[in-house]
Symmetry: C2
Subunit: 308 residues, 2 copies
């Protein structure tokens, strides 16, 4: 198996591109895919200040690395979720990555700065922890970007992540979510622009990118995400991809090209007002969902929580 680009011995093959690459050309391939995504969806330009949301996992560290390589002005934001050892180790990987490269890293710690953690939030809401976690991330990524004057928040959602979310949205025809699922969400009053530059790269490519470029990332999956519906959707999509390489990318890019616009009507009709507590724009007309969560989850004393 030879590298498609330089004919040297290949180290990885990518069936959906019907191509194999040597280490160096594979890293080039990843940069090109990110460059194409940024260009295709007009995500940002060299004049924009980008804040990349970094979890310490393969996707977000690779994204930060790729954006720096592509000469964008990009700082990191790490959000401490208070999920025991998993969060501690994720923080170590993130700080080490930033220090080694001399990159600027912002940190927000949910327990220290907001008085609650994700396990506690899951307990008071009596729902899957992923709900409270996603809500907290969306809120704090945005508020940190606004506070520090970033134009754009970039997240490490890859092709597999987005295709799984899309499958979930399509299976239930969640028209509102379908109208908002796109690689770029434009800035609006109180909201920074949100972009997903990894939509053209799969999970396996991101892991290989980290290994081949020497990025030491948090390998463990989040211990709270077990049984998450999206893991089932990923399995289903992987079985379709095995049968028909490229099926996953065609599903996602076809939606962006021909499906998404048909669901935009509802998504645009959302009315927003500032939260009286934190000033963030919210649809509720009262306290925003994050401040409500903080008010409820912050009052559970740590020693009273289940499993302690």
């Amino acid at each position: 198996m030879k590298c498609r680009r330089c004919k040297a011995p290949a180290v990885i093959d990518i069936r959906r591109h019907n191509a194999a690459f040597c280490s160096e050309c594979f890293l080039h391939h990843c940069r090109e895919q990110v460059r194409k995504a940024i260009h295709e969806y007009e995500m940002f330009g060299p004049e924009d200040r980008v804040l990349v949301a970094v979890s310490g996992g393969k996707d977000s560290l690779a994204l930060w690395d790729l954006l720096v390589d592509l000469d964008y002005e990009v700082d990191g934001l790490y959000l401490g979720l208070g999920i025991g050892d998993y969060s501690d180790e994720s923080g170590v990987h993130t700080r080490q990555f930033a220090q080694e490269r001399g990159l600027k890293l912002h940190e927000v710690d949910l327990p220290t700065d907001h008085g609650f953690d994700i396990p506690g939030a899951a307990q008071v809401t009596r729902r899957a922890p992923c709900g409270a976690c996603g809500l907290s991330k969306r809120h704090l990524f945005n508020s940190t970007a606004i506070e520090h004057g970033y134009d754009v928040v970039a997240t490490g959602h890859n092709l597999d992540d987005e295709a799984a979310v899309l499958l979930g949205n399509v299976l239930r025809w969640e028209t509102g979510y379908l109208g908002r699922q796109y690689p770029v969400l434009e800035a609006s009053d109180g909201f920074a622009r949100k972009v997903k530059p990894l939509v053209r790269l799969g999970e396996r490519e991101m892991a290989a990118y980290c290994v081949l470029s020497g990025i030491d990332y948090q390998v463990e999956e989040c211990p709270m995400a077990e049984g998450n519906r999206h893991l089932g959707f990923k399995e289903v999509l992987n079985s379709l991809e095995d049968r028909s390489p490229g099926a996953k990318a065609a599903f996602l890019s076809g939606f962006f090209a021909r499906g998404h616009e048909r669901f935009q009507t509802e998504a645009d009709q959302v009315l927003l007002a500032p939260c009286p507590e934190c000033g963030a724009p919210t649809t509720t007309g009262g306290t925003c969902a994050f401040c409500s969560l903080r008010a409820r989850a912050g009052v559970v004393p740590v020693e009273l929580r289940a499993g302690r």
Copy 2:
């Protein structure tokens, strides 16, 4: 396990309805699902003459039986496809069903009436036989209905069939097909109305209906459909259904309720002209696809075909 309706011992449970039924109440359940589908999508009324396309398999024989039970005026149409023993046996089951019940059955035989069969058509087109088969069925169901003055053509596509087709259309965002996938296609110049009254009933329910009501159907799958893409999509949907009962029905009915209308624009913009050979409406502007296929497939002498 007791029957939800009459509390007698149940013979079948249907997880997505969280219900079990005795034999008699199960047949009632199936009739109710068909009645609901006909009503919900305004398929036809007691004044309409319905032609049901019958293959001799479980779905189409059950559909004919159900429509007769519901007191509609409904005759059958059997299309001989020339697929060896499979077609011979399918014809026997269909004729026997009609004779036993004193029902009127039209027959069109592809080899006798049009000079070709599906294996021969697949060979000249060098494509999967399902393409030529679907094309021939659509053409002959419609032309027979028009010729004999039927208002409506009813086919036995069930929930599993339609959900698998939908998944295939969604995975590639085939916007034209998505605009035409609906339980009712209205009549237009040269086209009878097309309806699918089994969209609320799954494959397993249709097999049980035939067994419990003593319908002797063709159990074999078509020998030419092996490796058909839709079989893979059915497997995928079955694994999602196992995890989450009702997922398949929610996917299909959610599309009809909230997805379909968003894809209708292209579907409506099709321009039609009559085929110079047979007079059927066609988009090609020249000879229709069926007459073209007949012209090509009819010239292959049977003894020169592969596998003979």
